[in-house]
Amino acid sequence: MNGPVLDLRGVVKVFGTNRVLRGVDLAIGEHRVVALIGGSGSGKSTLLRCASLLETVDDGQVLLDGEDITDPRVDADRVRQRMGVVFQAYNLFPHLSVLDNVTLAPTVVHGRSRADAREEAHALLDRIGLADKAGEFPDRLSGGQQQRVAIVRALAVRPRVLLLDEITSALDPELVGEVLGVVREVAAQGMTILMATHEMGFARQVADVVAFLHDGVVLESGPPDQVLGDPVQPRTRQFLARVIDAGRL
């Protein structure tokens, strides 16, 4: 497959009278990491929710491996089986252990055997250094540990693309590193990733493409060094100046 894994074409999303997305075009090639940056309320989360079919788009298309998944004839549940989503607030299931959180989708949705799913879950947890927490419940874990489990839960279904929605925004600063470390490793292994983030430094290191979302469109996109270091658009420069002022770059 040579086309992009995930291809957003003219995506429009309206809430009431508020046009949050006004025609977003964005393509994520295989094994590519695309970082979505932009101010608060610029539509980063909405875009990810549209891509994962948690919202219906009001116009435009989303293609996954060339298939138009915004076609209402497509079974959204089957499409979501091929994607992994990690949320800002972790969204682990509090009534299930770490291991059960991770094995849930592989067994229930993908019909894999319990033993098989457990084995893989243990291997994944081992890789993020949480093998000893498999039996714990999420509320016994720190935010960083929970978010790492959430990443593993998304990876356990072997998705075509991983969508990360500001996954470090709810974390204490000293816990951000461990979560980004996991993302870095996942990216290095060739996972296709679309991530909304405020971590400009991380985007610069890991992303292949940085896309700046403003006023409901992708205003500027390109290699991180260009977009973050020498942006063309004044709006992008303005946004980055504010981020630098806040001491986050």
Partner: protein
């Protein structure tokens, strides 16, 4: 706002088409089911007998005024009882949640009350209050079945409603209490201004559900001899040797319950919408 694209229009058309189709399927399957049920019942060997005994229009018309007059009594019990249940239930719930050793006796009494009256069948409470209390022949104890019936119903339902309120109070996250106390509010103030308003919002659907249950249980005061809708129906049955008045009374109770059930649905739906931040799931 720019006009939607050709593609989006076709998507919308397809969704409309699907919606129409599923409405049609639902409509047809409902009609088919109703028809089958109708045919099975009307072709049963005993149907003419049942129709004459339970669905006689002339008996229905004759008994309706008395039963409707009786329903007025039920309505009075419902309104008075419903309001009292809210007050007593909330009081008991708050008492059960106060902390501090000084309140231990009160808490024990409240807990015992809830355990007792949630356990006893309503009809037995009705007998005990309705026949036992007047039999003491104390000064000032009312003997009207209306008053005694209401007391019995309030005793039973307040125990249920107190538990609903308590669940609501405990569902408010402790951080809310911490925030209120951090501002210097007393326990009482934080309960009244911060915790209870949030708790009430959570439990409103459950309360409305209990109200619908109360609506038909007010018919049980007939066992005390109050001439309510059920009792009037009973009298009419005795006079005509025909069970139609019971059906009439039943239908009147249903008519009473339907608006309430719809209100309950609407309130729950509104609460759900408020909690959801949009999205499909």
């Amino acid at each position: 706002m720019p006009p939607p694209s050709e593609l989006e229009l076709s998507r919308r058309a397809w969704r409309r088409h699907r919606a129409r189709r599923s409405t049609l399927v639902a409509l047809v399957s409902t009609l088919v089911f109703a028809l089958v049920a109708y045919l099975v019942v009307t072709h049963a060997p005993g149907w003419p007998r049942v129709r004459a005994t339970f669905f006689s229009p002339s008996v229905a018309a004759e008994s309706l005024p008395d039963i409707a007059a009786g329903l007025w009594l039920n309505l009075q019990v419902l309104v008075v009882g419903g309001l009292l249940v809210l007050v007593v239930g909330l009081l008991v719930a708050v008492v059960r949640t106060v902390r501090g050793p000084a309140f231990t006796p009160l808490r024990i009494v409240a807990t015992a009350y809830v355990d007792l009256f949630r356990g006893i069948p309503l009809i037995i409470v009705l007998y005990l209050v309705g026949f036992g209390l007047p039999a003491l022949r104390l000064e000032g104890v009312p003997t009207s079945p209306f008053v005694l019936g209401t007391v019995a119903i309030v005793l039973t339902y307040s125990a249920y409603v107190a538990e609903v309120f308590r669940a609501g109070i405990e569902s408010v996250h402790p951080s809310q209490r911490a925030a209120a106390r951090s501002l210097g509010l007393t326990h009482r103030q934080s309960m009244r201004i911060v915790v209870l308003p949030q708790a009430l919002r959570t439990v409103t659907p459950a309360l409305l559900n209990d109200f619908v249950a109360l609506q038909k249980d007010v018919g049980l005061i007939s066992v005390l001899g109050a001439v309510d809708a059920v009792r009037s129906a009973q009298i009419a049955v005795g006079q005509t040797f025909n069970f139609t008045p019971y059906v009439v009374a039943g239908l009147l109770f249903v008519l009473l319950a339907v608006p309430c059930a719809r209100v309950a649905d609407a309130v729950s739906a509104r609460a759900r919408r408020r909690q959801q931040s949009g999205g499909l799931l």
